[in-house]
Amino acid sequence: MASISLRKIVKRYGSGPKANQVIHGISAEIADGEFIVIVGPSGCGKSTLLRMVAGLEEVSAGEIAIGARVVNQVEPADRDIAMVFQNYALYPHMTVFDNMAYGLKIKKVASAEIKTRVDRAAAILELGGLLQRRPRELSGGQRQRVAMGRAIVRNPQVFLFDEPLSNLDAKLRAQTRLEIQKLHRELGVTSLFVTHDQVEAMTLAQRMIVMNGGHVEQIGTPEEVYGRPATTFVASFIGSPPMNLLKGRASGRDFMVGGITLQLPAAAARDGELIIGLRPEHLANWDAAEGWPFKVEMIEMLGAERLVYGRLGDAAFTLRIDASLAPPKVGSTLRLQPSAGQLHCFDAQTGQRISA
């Protein structure tokens, strides 16, 4: 097992003035045995970052260290890592056993040892009866487990997962998510997991790295990222439905947005251009006698809860309310009172959090 250090990682494609820089100096320290999820929208550079750790892409500038060793110039096979690919990348002409054993065979591990290791991995992943099958005879979930088995038998220092769940259906995805968690608890191997799915990120991560446009937006535990988003991007990317963001002008406790003036709690009072964020569920009372005037436009029933879409003045706003409560009427106006201490303030220009 090993820690991973990313030191000012830069990735450029091409060279000279036409070079296209996709990763702009990322630094992070990943502790030994930690499960880190890198999450971000498509094209934010998260897969490129992972592939640089794997050694499949060259690092343009900066250093990657696994354990104490800087691995910039080390071949992928010698980095002591294992990777699970999005489409599994199983060798189609080999049996499940051979797929898992291939890396060990190349390393010239004794065949008895190979058999022990493959059998152990197969037992962990419940692949015992499938060892003589070929990948095409397996279901998606089974292939996914074989891909993980191939990673496990190598006994690596680091697991790298490149969106391994995105080819599975929703039910299987939830189940595999739990299996990965269990696996990490049992093996305790440092893991980097790339996904664009914020639910995966929230459920799997011990800490998550939120990326956007080749920059790190925030590094923190799921609680920190959800509870204290560092930027408006994180606030709107993590959480579904996303945090309500209202851009307006504050003057003391008055906040002008969408043509109306809202009263801020005393603790949040400040002056100037501001973005106010409030999660849809963070309302102390949504049917009070007084508060922010919210006009209901549409209601979605999700089973356990209802999503109420509407407007504060001109600004769009969403509420999440318990489905056991009687729903508000479409067209009616509710009076909202935000929960104390749940109001987030961001700088209107930079989108950075203003610590309250």
């Binding site: 050694g55 071949e75 010698d78 990777m83 690919f85 060798y91 890396g103």
Partner: protein, 283 residues
Amino acid sequence: MIEKRPALTLLSHLVLILGVLIVAFPIYIAFVASTHTAQAIVQAPMPLLPGDHLLENYQAALSGHNSGSGSTAPVGRMMLVSLVSALTIAIAKIAISLLSAFAIVYFRFPLKNFVFWSIFVTLMLPVEVRIGPTYQVVSDLGMLNSYAGLTVPLIASATATFLFRQFFMTVPDELVEAARIDGAGAMRFFKDVLLPLSSTSIAALFVIQFIYGWNQYLWPLLVTTDENMYPVVIGIKRMISGGDAANDWNIIMATAILAMIPPALVVMLMQRWFVKGLVDTEK
């Protein structure tokens, strides 16, 4: 499309049977001719039922004979020459094409595109077009009347290289990366992953190239003057002397039938793989 119209079915069967007859009848005639004596064949009308000289005619053809006005060399030797050349051409073509396609798809080297396009351009230069200079080269190298002379100029193949290049490009990149992480070097990846994956294409190509090699006519005609180095296709030609001379048509036809057997065998034995290689997209 499923239709139930008896008249249409009848018509389509008639057309098919007619087609089979047109293709098969000459072969049948050749077979019939190879079972009669030379005198019996030249009588008009020629017999249409097999005679009783089958064994002696084929024996005469295979081991050489002493009548006839054309070449009388033994066909057994010719079959061997043909077999060796066809196998050499097919196997070497596949080996070289696989390696060059591998280089073009998986390696970055200077002038890569130039190399690819120059291979591609040779598609437009079949043997017949470059036959003069090629003959000069082969003759200067002293390769006339040798297996090398018969095969080397026919080995380089843009078609096969191109086919394998297209196939390799459909192999997912992740497979290459997985192999890299597993520690497989380039040749190891080639041997353990690419070769097994392209086995059906290789089989299909082998069939095509074997027949191509077996049926070579123009080039062996130029580079072989020694009866010992005649491929069987040339042998047939050499048996027929021009003018009004009496040819041993029974022996010639027996040779023709013999010459047809190996390619037919290759096609029949490898048919399953051959078809799979052409239609299969499974990866």
